[in-house]
Symmetry: C2
DNA sequence: AAGTGGTCTAGACCACTAC
DNA sequence: TAGTGGTCTAGACCACTTT
């Protein structure tokens, strides 16, 4: 067993035992150096391994603290229901009501061409015109979710969806009003470490993974894809709740 | 911009540009030292940041390689259906058929007492006797999933579930045979970095997050919880696929 | 100004792999 | 045995925060 692992394990145990509590300061590097009789670099290696595990938080000039357990919101993925839309709530607003946080959204709308993947998933031709809605969704002012929604322009032409304000009930409500009766959604959930850009916009701490969800909305019968939504969620802030019928 | 970040960025770009291909060797530490005119420790810091991002792979004595993209299996979570169970397939076997891999399972069965959380989720009293089934599930010989299933002993008493071999269709099939008509499941999906123990049993590479799923199975009407299943999945190997009806 | 962590150097020895 | 990465040391200077 190497020295730095021993130190990391010792610190981890103290944290789990509650000797160092969330938010509390750890001894400084010189202090730890003396306690364990090692060089500063060895202390630093031990500490950074715990940072990568998401256990510690370092702020320069201030010291090292036990990372406070961030609040977790339960997002009910099964609540993409027609009922909620009728009441004028989109999926995110519905989640907010459920989990009790104040939602806010930044939207950017643009028109572009479908790339290979988009074309395949939406069952259109590569290069076809698509409407793109990029959103940053925040809970109580803190960014929580990035979503890029793409719809075939052939569907959205002239609809309110092409405006930044999509109206009560959101995109899905507008689609149904226009006669695109939604049949079901498929969500594919992956997990990965965030890119540097995502770390920045989602204000992620080191050692925080993200959910990467691809959602496709289907409408009509036979069902055809009408929307592709790529969603990135801060992994330390949410749990996804799915309800599955036994059939 | 610090030196080690510059080096990390330079290497990342070369990887993304395909100059270093998946599986291919990177220059050795002494070579990188010379290329960028820095000390060995600075090179090492750059490299280890890329390892933490899951981009690189280091093997001692051998060198540093670009991490090959590991195969991803799509696990259809919505296929916990009665239909599949009738055909003698449990959820994992059903996934295996779907995703085309060879499944294998190690099981350990024991009896214990419900802790606070278990008791709450199963709606029984703390300390009540529970049956515990701990499983390691592998795909093509590679561990992919850890699952600890707990059921109130009051339900399982004398059932085949108490044996290691739960029989065709698995736990859920036995429950239904015994008259516990399953109504639905609720899955709560979280993501986190793995513990050291999980890294070992799942043979995870550094920088790989895991899915942590809590599944509760409900039966009867009014529906009551009959099983609590804590599942840990290697995040680099699976995507979870959920189908959500529009209602 | 004092104290914190962040970066960087130069050099040593060790453990493992390949030849 | 040569070459790879892993650990560790001792010391320097810097950037940021608090007092």
């Amino acid at each position: 067993m190497t020295k730095w692992r021993q130190i990391a394990d010792a610190l981890r145990e103290k944290i789990e035992a509650g000797e160092y509590r969330p938010g509390q300061r750890l001894p400084t590097e010189p202090e730890l150096q003396e306690q364990y009789d090692v060089s500063r670099n060895t202390v630093r290696q031990a500490v950074s391994s715990l940072v990568a595990e998401g256990l510690l938080l370092v702020e320069r000039g201030q010291g090292t603290r036990v990372r406070p357990r961030s609040e977790v919101r339960r997002l009910a993925r099964s609540r993409l229901s027609r009922e909620e839309r009728k009441q004028g709530r989109g999926a995110f607003l519905s989640d907010a009501t459920q989990a009790g946080f104040t939602p806010s959204v930044q939207v950017r709308v643009s028109v572009g061409q479908a790339d290979t993947r988009t074309a395949e998933l939406l069952q259109i031709a590569e290069g076809d015109s698509v409407l793109r809605r990029e959103r940053i969704m925040s809970a109580d002012g803190r960014p929580m979710q990035l979503a890029t929604s793409q719809l075939p322009r052939s569907i959205t032409h002239g609809m309110q969806i092409e405006e930044e304000e999509s109206g009560p009930g959101g995109t899905y409500a507008r689609l149904e009003e226009a006669g695109h009766h939604l049949s079901h959604f498929v969500e594919e959930v992956a997990v990965r470490m965030p890119s540097a850009a995502e770390v920045e916009t989602l204000q992620l701490l080191p050692g925080t993974p993200v959910f990467a969800i691809t959602r496709i909305a289907y409408a009509g019968s036979p069902a055809k894809p009408v929307e592709l939504n790529d969603i990135v969620l801060a992994g330390d802030q949410v749990r996804l709740v799915y309800e599955i019928p036994a059939e």
